[in-house]
Every structure is written in structure tokens, then in C-alpha cells.
Subunit: 142 residues, 2 copies
């Protein structure tokens, strides 16, 4: 099986398959006399594992760890779970940070009428670092 077919079958691009080989994430695969790489079912299996781990946001280095645990017959599932929980914590931390940024910015955007005047609380806040004033600070219109 050529690299292109392996890419299609595994969902990992040919570029990435070569890259993963170059960094030792997948072992060097057999070559035909032409020099073409030749992929078998076990290779596809490994590539699929990697793709699914990437889809879950695991870094290359952590996938390396997971692959080691995968091939380690004497592994305990507690080790795998620990890696997963660490990763979950990091994902949620990053998600939280992004959402925090979005919330801050939304507060600013809500203070901006967007009515065509040059005056803008968003710009003002970036300029001074101060929270915007008025526009609901004393929400008497409520």
C-alpha cells in the first residue's frame, strides 16, 4: 500500500506520515525496490491511533507516551487514565482562558453602540486599560 492510500485510509496526510516517521513516532516502514514506502495493516492501525489521539488534542509528545503505553503489555490502565486526566485539565484550562477573553471583550463590545460615531469604548479600554464607563454601569433604564 502506497503512502497516498495509507493517508486516505488512516486520515493522516502523506506529509504528516513522513513527518511522524522522521521524528520516530512511527517506525520506518518497508520500502519497495522503487523506494516507495509500503504500508501494511499494522502500520495503518498505528496511524489511526495517532489520528484519533490528535483529534482529541493530544500533543505529539503525549501521543508518543500513549503509544508506549499501548504497546506495553504490562501497563496499568491507571497510567493511561492519569495521562488522559492531565490532558483534560489542560484542555479545559485553555478553553477557560479563551472563553474568559471572549467574555471580557463581549463586555466591552456591549458598551459600544456601534452607531457610527468615532467614540468607542473598546478602543478606549485598549488605550487606557480602564473598563468602559456608562452604558449600563448605572442601569437606570432597567
Amino acid at each position: 500500500m502506497n503512502i497516498g492510500q495509507a493517508a486516505q485510509a488512516s486520515g493522516v496526510s502523506a506529509k504528516m506520515i513522513r513527518y511522524y516517521e522522521s521524528i520516530g513516532l512511527v517506525p520506518p516502514v518497508g520500502r519497495r525496490t522503487s523506494g516507495y514506502r509500503d504500508y501494511g495493516p499494522a502500520d495503518l492501525h498505528r496511524l489511526g491511533f495517532i489520528r484519533r489521539a490528535r483529534d482529541l488534542g493530544f500533543s505529539i509528545e503525549r501521543i508518543r507516551l500513549l503509544l508506549d503505553l499501548w504497546s506495553d503489555q504490562s501497563r496499568s490502565n491507571a497510567e493511561v487514565k492519569a495521562v488522559a486526566l492531565t490532558h483534560i485539565k489542560e484542555l479545559e484550562e485553555r478553553a477557560r482562558q479563551l472563553q474568559e477573553m471572549a467574555d471580557s471583550l463581549r463586555t466591552l463590545a456591549e458598551a459600544c453602540d456601534g452607531d457610527g460615531r468615532p467614540d468607542c469604548p473598546i478602543i478606549q479600554s485598549l488605550e487606557t486599560g480602564e473598563a468602559p464607563t456608562c452604558q449600563g454601569e448605572h442601569p437606570a433604564w432597567h
Copy 2:
């Protein structure tokens, strides 16, 4: 004011200040006879703006846009708001994706006892792409 002091005052590292200058995000600042860069209040003001925009997750290119809008006296706040809303959407999309990954992985992790056996639903799911079985698939204990 030297670059180091400007860095301290603005919260942007000296490395980054030079980089921002090199890409034209901040104009070339005055030099002393020694060749040292010399920063004044207006320069600090701009650097502070940039730092706060970075803290809100804006990309360099979008900050360039915001800086243009800042210096444009005839800007309408609607333009600024539009940039902000676009950015909010992107931030929330990324946050959502990360949280989705975390949720998927948490489902797997919950199916894993972590009791020291080699059997592990997390690894199995990465291997086969199938959702884990048992462990609550028929939650009779509810």
C-alpha cells in the same frame, strides 16, 4: 527611556518590542547617539494598547487593524465593534472545540477504572475508534 524600561513599563518584552518594530506594528523609534532606542510616552501608550489587545487574544494582524482604527479620527465605532465581534466568535469557537475534546476524553476516562489492570477503554477507543462499552452503557445502578 531605554527599551528595557519601556518593556517593564508596557508589559511587552524587549524582544517583542523590537519584533513589533521590525514588522511595522510600531514605528521606528528615535535613537540616541549610541544607537540605543529611546522611548517616549506616546510610544509607551502604543505598546500598552498592543499588550492589552494581545491579552484579549487578538492576532498581530488584527491588532494592526485596531491600531489603524485607533489613529483614524473619522472611524466609526461600528467598524471597531465588528472586528471585536468577529474575534469573539473565533475565540468562542476555539474554546468550544477544546471543551468538546475534553468532554469526549472525559467520557472515555470515566469508563476507565484506573485500577491497575492492563485493560483500558481509553487505549481501546484510540485503537479502534469505537466508543467504550459497558461501564455505564446500561446504567442499571441508577
